[in-house]
């Protein structure tokens, strides 16, 4: 931000002119700020401050106004920023009231604290990051112009406070009334500052949302590039292999769908996400679509990890041997137990005919479940498909 602003600044000092666009009174402060490479706001505040101190700012402004030529613009002059003018007017009013009350504006000792403090504040202000300050300021100005009512109320309070104080200052006995009025004045100043402070907070929030949105957009672009475009290229290259094209399209579809519609889940932490991931991996490995439906969700425990391995083995069996066009997986989490069904509509088999040494069903599914305190039931009939039902208590 800072670099770009510096590089944009002209090398040689340009002639001092009063710009028309964005002027508040006559463009003096803006012109001088461009000359000094400062924020116009700083100079405007300086003029306001010096005006309070013996009217010095007023004289300086008038002199500069007279000696500086107006910037030439084509067409009609753009309008003044009345909202900003009102804000500075109110600020001046507040400072003047404060000056009167402390007797500072008479050129006495009290003048200097105000001037020194004000200049210090301006330096601090100038220290802030220019880009951020710029955005704060535009936000603040916008806020002021949209909350006219608040500005007017603030100005009225300040005026009432000042007048009231003047009326009361003759009588020392009524010093308390004076204090009340001082409170009113401070209240007025706070009211003037409130929109500015509110806009600061709002601006920061907006900045954050903007940043999040940009990150999100970058993520979408990266995702589309890495996955969808890549898959489309692969599909074109494998155009003469329908099986591979289907597999690619299917796995891309699944991935995109998960990305769009599934809440972000950690596949290592929750059951539903883990079941989905296992199904996706087996679907990719064997080229058979696996439809997954999950009801409820819970944290993975040791027992559930065993359940998951058994379910995966059931999916592998179905994909490899059943010749079913599609496999259905249904996982349901209940209050005390988790059940997973893996079903195919393939050719089925006779359970008793499975040789003892076949590890798939006996060991990886039934044995594993029983070792972990769960149960497995296999229901199958030749020609009628196979369904494996796995149950595990949640707290094991």
């Amino acid at each position: 931000m800072r670099e770009t602003e510096v590089s944009k600044a002209p090398e040689a000092y340009p002639r001092l002119v009063r710009p028309v666009k964005g002027r508040v009174v006559a463009g003096v402060a803006q012109g001088a700020a461009a000359q000094l490479r400062l924020d116009p706001v700083v100079l405007r505040l300086a003029f306001v401050l010096l005006t309070v101190v013996d009217g010095l700012g007023f004289v300086a402004y008038a002199a500069l106004w007279m000696f500086t030529p107006k910037e030439q613009v084509k067409g009609r002059d753009p309008g003044r920023d009345w909202g900003q003018l009102a804000a500075y007017g109110v600020l001046w009013l507040a400072l003047a009231a404060f000056g009167w009350m402390t007797g500072a504006s008479s050129g006495g000792f009290g003048t200097w604290p105000i001037a020194v403090g004000g200049i210090g504040a301006l330096i601090l202000w100038q220290q802030a990051d220019p880009g951020r300050r710029q955005r704060w300021m535009t936000g603040a100005v916008k806020q002021v112009s949209t909350t006219w009512v608040r500005t007017i109320i603030g100005a009225l309070l300040v005026a009432v406070g000042a007048v009231g104080f003047l009326a009361a200052s003759g009588e020392l006995a009524k010093a308390r009334t004076g204090l009340v009025f001082t409170a009113v004045v401070v209240g007025g100043i706070l009211m003037i500052a409130a929109p500015y402070l509110a806009s600061l907070v709002k601006e920061l929030q907006r900045e954050r949302t903007e940043r999040i949105r940009q990150e999100e957009r970058a993520e979408v672009a990266a995702h589309v590039h890495d996955s969808v475009l890549h898959t489309l290229t692969l599909i074109q290259r494998n155009a003469n292999d329908p099986r591979e094209v289907t597999r690619l399209a299917r796995s891309q579809e699944r991935e995109l769908r998960n990305w769009l519609y599934q809440p972000k889940q950690d596949a290592d932490a929750t059951l539903a996400a883990a079941v989905r991931r296992a199904a996706a991996e087996e679907e990719d490995a064997h080229g058979v679509p696996i439809e997954v439906v999950c009801v409820g969700d819970c944290e993975l425990t040791d027992g559930l990890v065993a359940l998951l391995h058994a379910a995966r083995q059931a999916m592998v069996n179905a994909a490899k041997y059943s010749e079913s066009p599609v496999i259905s997986v249904y996982a349901e989490v209940e209050a005390d137990e988790v059940t997973v069904f893996v079903r195919d509509r393939g050719k089925g088999f006779v359970l008793d005919d499975v040789p003892e040494d076949r590890m798939g069903i006996r060991q990886s599914i039934i044995g594993r479940m029983e070792r972990h305190g769960g149960s497995a039931r296999v229901r199958t009939e030749p020609g009628d498909g196979t369904e494996v039902m796995l149950t595990m208590k949640r707290n094991t």
């Binding site: 972000k264 439809e291 009801v295 599609v326 249904y330 349901e332």
Partner: protein, 212 residues
Amino acid sequence: MKTVRVLIVDDHRLFRSGVRAELGPSIQVIGEADDVDSAVAAIADLEPDVVLLDVHMPGGGGQEVLKRVLGPGSQVRFLALSVSDAAEDVIGVIRGGARGYVTKTISGAELTDAITRVSDGDAVFSPRLAGFVLDAFASTEAPPIDPELDSLTQREREVLRLIARGYAYKEIAKELFISVKTVETHVSSVLRKLQLSNRHELSRWATARRLV
């Protein structure tokens, strides 16, 4: 067997012609529409038995069509068809008045079957929709406001669970030792609860399942 007169509403031309080609001889496609306005006009004009309704369309989507067409005395029945698996869309279009929801990957034979079922006044639940319903009706601790509408019976739960497990109606009937007609009655009753229940959980649940 009577033929069912169907209107296809979808903004993808390729998809419309694909569906037309896949449907069985018992289905007669009498028209197509590609946005909300033309769909509403075509429904009034052609009076189809069943409207195949895409969930996502320019001009408000399927829910807008449902809102503008369904009212007292309307005879037309809707079967929602979508590529989206977002719970919000599914629940939204069912609560909007559709009698069923299937995903676009469904085979021609299954779609023909689903259309016939909807035209007979039954409901069509995909496994995923059944899962959503079980999830939505289960995910609450709050006592139901209207027990008749706000909770599922044990039997309805069993039927939905079997649908979610990938069972066809006929297989469910066999499994539970009931008739196919009874299965259909249970599913229609779940559909009615889904459409009429006022419970906030349903919509809140669907919203919570939105992409985060």
